[in-house]
Point group: C2
Chain length 171, copies 2
C-alpha cells in the first residue's frame, strides 16, 4: 500500500514538473525525469551527492552538474525544499504531497524529528504584521536533545558525580 501511494505521488510530481517546464519553454528530458523519480524515491531528507550516488547505483547515468541544475528547478517549482541543518551542504526534502512541517534536531545524535508547522505559520504572520512585513515562508528548527540523549547524558552525569569533569579538554 505505501508502494501504491508512492507510485501515484511520483506520477503526480512528474506531471507537476513537466507542466512547470512547459510553461517556461523548458524541456522535459530523460535526465530530468530520472531525477524527479530519484528524488521521490529517496528518503525524506537527502543531499545532492547522496542523490547522485543513489542514481548511479541504480545505473542511471547523469552528470553532477545536471543534478544540481535540476534540483534548483525542482525547488523553484515547489516539489523540493532546501533545508539548512548544518552549514556544510544544502539538504533537500521533497515536500510534494506532504503537510508543512519543521524539524527538531538533536544536538547529540543528529536525529531529526518533524513536527507540524501550523503553529509556526500562525506565529510568523502575527510577528510579521508588527513589522510591516509580508511573511511568505520561514525556516525554523528547534535544536536540543531527543529523549534518548537526555537519558544518556543524565546517566553519564550520575556516573561521574562529584568528580571534576571535562576540564582542560581540547577541541
Amino acid at each position: 500500500m505505501p508502494q501504491r501511494v508512492a507510485q501515484e505521488l511520483m506520477k503526480a510530481a512528474e506531471n507537476v514538473f513537466r507542466e512547470f517546464l512547459r510553461d517556461r519553454g523548458l524541456k522535459y528530458t530523460g535526465e530530468r525525469e530520472m531525477i524527479v523519480q530519484a528524488v521521490m524515491r529517496n528518503p525524506e531528507h537527502f543531499e545532492a551527492e547522496q542523490l547522485l550516488r543513489d542514481m548511479r547505483q541504480a545505473r542511471e547515468k547523469v552528470g553532477k552538474a545536471t543534478v544540481y541544475r535540476t534540483l534548483k528547478l525542482l525547488v523553484e517549482c515547489g516539489i523540493v525544499k532546501e533545508v539548512h541543518f548544518s552549514n556544510k551542504q544544502v539538504h533537500y526534502e521533497h515536500t510534494y504531497g506532504q503537510d508543512p512541517h519543521d524539524h527538531m534536531v538533536c544536538r547529540r545524535c543528529g536525529r531529526i524529528i518533524e513536527f507540524d508547522a501550523s503553529d509556526v505559520v500562525r506565529l510568523r504572520t502575527v510577528l510579521a504584521a508588527k513589522k510591516d512585513f509580508k511573511a511568505l515562508s520561514h525556516r525554523f528548527q528547534i535544536v536540543g536533545l531527543c529523549r534518548a540523549c537526555v537519558q544518556a547524558i543524565s546517566i553519564a552525569q550520575s556516573a561521574t558525580d562529584g568528580r571534576a569533569v571535562n576540564k582542560g579538554r581540547r577541541r
Copy 2:
C-alpha cells in the same frame, strides 16, 4: 554615549572570553584579543572574510585560519552566534549583551529586520514537550517582503496589468 556602552560591553566580552579560555586551559593570546574586539566593534552581522578585511584595514595582522579558529571558540563560549541566511557562507552576529532575537529576511532586497524572540522561545518549548524533546535553542527566520518591496512590486504590477508577464523567461 553609545561609545561608552560599547566600550563597557567590549571589556565585558573580553573578560567572558578570557575566563572561558582559562577554564579549558587555553591561552588568551594577542590575536584572540584583537579578534574579540574586532567582532564587538563590527556591525551586528558579519562574515569571516569581512572581519578579516576589517582587521587588516585596522592594521591588525592575523591569519585567516586564526580568525576561523577563534570564531569557533567565540561561538562555543556564547559571545557570537552563527546565522545561516543564504547558503553561501556562514554569517555571524555578536549576541553578547543583546536580547535574543530572530530575523525577517526580505526576499527581494535582502533587508534584515530583527524581532524579539520571546514568543518563539515560548512556542518552541511547547512544541518540544509534545515530542519528548528538550529544546535548547532554535533557528528561525521569516522570509518574505519588506514594506518597501511590497510597494515596489504592486507598482510594477499595475504598470504591466493586462499584459502577459514573465512567461518563457530563462533562469
